[in-house]
């Protein structure tokens, strides 16, 4: 029962990691940019909801939707206004640009709420389901449900719609997609927007169960990286599986090995996977014709 309870809690945490990892993966796979500012987009999504719900008094669901849309637009603007401009430059430029805009977002949050650890309205506080000694908390159920819907929608769009097939085509070969008339620039912008929106959804889900502060995104960036590494760089399904496995692993390590190990589980995963299976659980080695 103890293990099951830990696993359940781990799955709820892992669902958020999965969302963050998937959003990182969307940007990486479509533009080969590892977004080191992504944690701050997660934080920004949560802060937008805070402003709308707590300060403006708007309903939570409408605010959450608006936050996701706003972050989509922000992601698109970042790609068009910042990333696209340095496309011809070295890859390190992308990394520095991502870190730069991430810190700007963090700075904006600090300017407004730097001295506070903010509580969000407890919108996910539903009565827990009790199955014997097993507690399935209300927030876990909501997180599972929302993440499942978001992931389902994403995978349907990407793998089953005509727009998704266009996206797959660009992911496989930008030059080929461009030659058949696909607007690759617009595609990059949309994928950055989608990545930011998914990240924002993660922030919206996590803020009501923890607390809100400008550094909130940092820990989710690391978890997202670890989950993406575990699942395999560029694998959408792998990112989701990696997030869930990481969430459960953290809880089981904390429950059975040592609570001191929880904090380093993500780092251990990154080190072990890169050392033993660099392509992760579901990633594939890229064969290059020479």
């Amino acid at each position: 029962m103890f293990a099951l309870q830990l696993a359940l809690s781990g799955l709820a945490q892992g669902a958020i990691y999965a969302l963050v990892a998937l959003s990182l993966c969307v940007v990486y796979r479509s533009t080969t940019v590892v977004n080191f500012g992504h944690g701050d987009l997660v934080m920004a999504g949560a802060f937008v909801v805070y402003v709308m719900v707590v300060l403006a008094g708007l309903p939570f669901l409408a605010s959450a939707f608006a936050a996701v849309v706003l972050l989509f637009i922000l992601g698109l603007c970042i790609e068009v206004g910042l990333i696209e401009r340095i496309k011809a430059g070295p890859h390190i430029g992308f990394a520095l640009m991502c870190i730069g805009f991430g810190y700007v977002l963090r700075g904006i949050a600090r300017a407004g709420w730097g001295r506070e650890v903010l509580p969000m309205p407890r919108v996910l506080d539903f009565l827990p389901l009790l199955m014997g000694d097993l507690v399935v908390t209300g927030d876990s159920l909501v997180i599972f449900a929302v993440v499942a819907v978001l992931l389902g929608a994403f995978f349907l769009l990407f793998y089953r719609s005509s727009a998704g097939r266009v996206m797959q085509a660009v992911c496989q070969s930008e030059r080929g997609a461009g030659l058949v008339g696909i607007n690759v620039r617009a595609f990059h912008g949309v994928m950055w927007g989608a990545g930011a929106a998914l990240g924002a959804a993660g922030g919206v889900l996590v803020a009501p169960i923890t607390l809100l502060h400008p550094n909130l995104g940092a820990i989710f960036l690391i978890k997202g990286f670890a989950a993406m590494t575990l699942g395999g760089f560029g694998s959408f399904g792998g990112a989701v599986a990696g997030g869930l496995i990481l969430g459960v692993a953290e809880q089981l390590v904390g429950g059975y090995v040592s609570t001191k190990m929880i904090d380093i589980t993500a780092y251990l995963v990154i080190i072990l996977v890169l050392a033993l299976r660099p392509n992760g659980l579901f990633g594939r080695a890229i064969a290059e014709r020479v």
Binding site: F2, Q5, L6, S9, G10, Q13, R110, G114, R115, E116, V117, P119, R122, P128, V135, T137, V206, I209, T210, L211, H213, P214, N215, A218, I219, E250, Q251, V253, G254, G255, S258, T259, K260, I262, D263
Partner: protein
């Protein structure tokens, strides 16, 4: 002629002009421990109030506040800036113990007087160093008070400990568990909950398995709120003894309902309830200069040290030097600040200035100072 030399001696001191005394105040104004900076905001208000009362020997106190975001690297940069660029006369600041420990060697080397405004790690001022003074109770004092309160619960047999793994947490939990061990109560389980983590399920379930009568939680604010909420989720009903790194009002605000904090207790360093008559003067000072500040348990805590500094500056006279201030601070004996629970006494062999602490908890939904389990002060 004597007057000329007196003015000249003072003028040669960094941070002293004929009209001002420059004091560097390091505060975590940003970051996830930023609410601790309320302590330095309160201190700044107190010094402004002193200025409005006429200042000290014709000089006004000029505070220079530097943010370090509870980060050691930023703390080192901030204190170097205050000492070498702003050339302050003395330092009165710091909330985060780990940062205070990081900057301690720099302050010792500079020889500049430093009164600790809020950080509680006893190792900052012990063993005593010539220029460092603790203006609040250290973790050991509060840890012992925590242990005494926990031990006062009738029928206590099993205690659980949840803490960060840093020096700050050890400075509270160590003395608390040592005290309990001396009472033949050893922790049934000790678990770690690191800063920045967003979930404490594993820790909460392990504590639940241990079935404790009391839990000692040496956690910062955000993690305290997360742990208390997880305790409620998994129906862990034992009372929790927290540290002075948290306060009742803000913890209630963060967890969102009284049920979750009804059994939460914290060390209380004040002479009265926060809204009590003895503290009204100090709360009014804060409101006068920072009208938008809400008064929490951190807000007034550094004012006691501020009062002791002002007293020592007065005794040091118009011909002010760092050596004279340090000598006068060392003569501070049983100084009643009006705000802290106990007096401040500094000697050259003991810089841990405040030795008395109570405990506060919710009684009938209202924060109440307690002398022992179930007994209001």
């Amino acid at each position: 002629m004597a007057c000329f030399f007196a003015v000249n001696a003072a003028a040669q001191q960094d941070g002293i002009t004929p009209n001002s005394i420059k004091i560097g105040v390091m505060a975590p104004l940003t970051g996830n421990a930023s609410s601790y900076s309320k302590a330095q905001i309160g201190l700044d208000a107190y010094y402004k109030w002193v200025n409005d009362q006429g200042g000290i020997h014709g000089r006004k106190i000029e505070t220079v506040m530097e943010d370090y975001a509870c980060d050691s690297t930023k703390g080192v940069a901030a204190v170097k800036k205050l000492i070498h660029q702003d050339k302050v006369f003395m330092l009165h600041g710091n909330s985060c113990s780990a940062v205070a420990m990081a900057i301690k060697p720099i302050v010792i080397e500079a020889g500049i007087p430093w009164v600790i405004a809020h950080a509680a790690n006893p190792n900052i001022s012990t063993p005593p160093v010539k220029n460092i003074f603790h203006g609040v109770p250290v973790g050991k004092t509060m840890g012992i008070a925590m242990g005494q309160f926990v031990a006062s619960k009738p029928g206590l047999a099993r205690v659980a400990v949840i803490s960060h793994t840093d020096d700050w947490a050890k400075s509270y939990c160590g003395p608390a568990t040592e005290y309990l061990s001396s009472m033949k109560v050893k922790p049934a389980i000790e678990v770690a909950f690191e800063r920045g983590q967003t979930d404490s399920t594993a820790q909460t379930l392990r504590i639940k398995q241990a079935n404790p009568d009391f839990i000692i939680a040496c956690l910062y604010e955000a993690e305290t709120a997360i742990f208390l909420k997880d305790m409620k989720k998994y129906a862990v009903n034992a009372p929790v003894m927290g540290t002075a790194g948290t306060d009742l009002e803000n913890t209630l605000k963060r967890v969102g309902d009284l049920d979750t904090v009804a059994n939460y207790y914290v060390p209380h360093m004040y002479a009265d309830n926060l809204d009590g008559p003895k503290l009204k003067k100090f709360a009014d000072i804060l409101k006068k200069y920072y009208p938008n500040e809400t008064v929490t348990a951190f807000s007034l805590i550094s004012m006691g040290g501020g009062a002791a500094v002002v007293e020592a500056l007065k005794r040091a006279g118009r011909d002010l030097t760092r050596e004279k201030l340090i000598a006068e601070l060392d003569k501070t004996k049983d100084f009643q600040t009006g705000v802290l629970a106990g007096p401040i006494t500094w000697t050259s062999s003991d810089r841990d200035g405040v030795k008395e602490v109570a405990v506060a908890g919710f009684v009938k939904g209202k924060p109440t100072v307690l002398k022992s389990w179930g007994k209001p002060l």
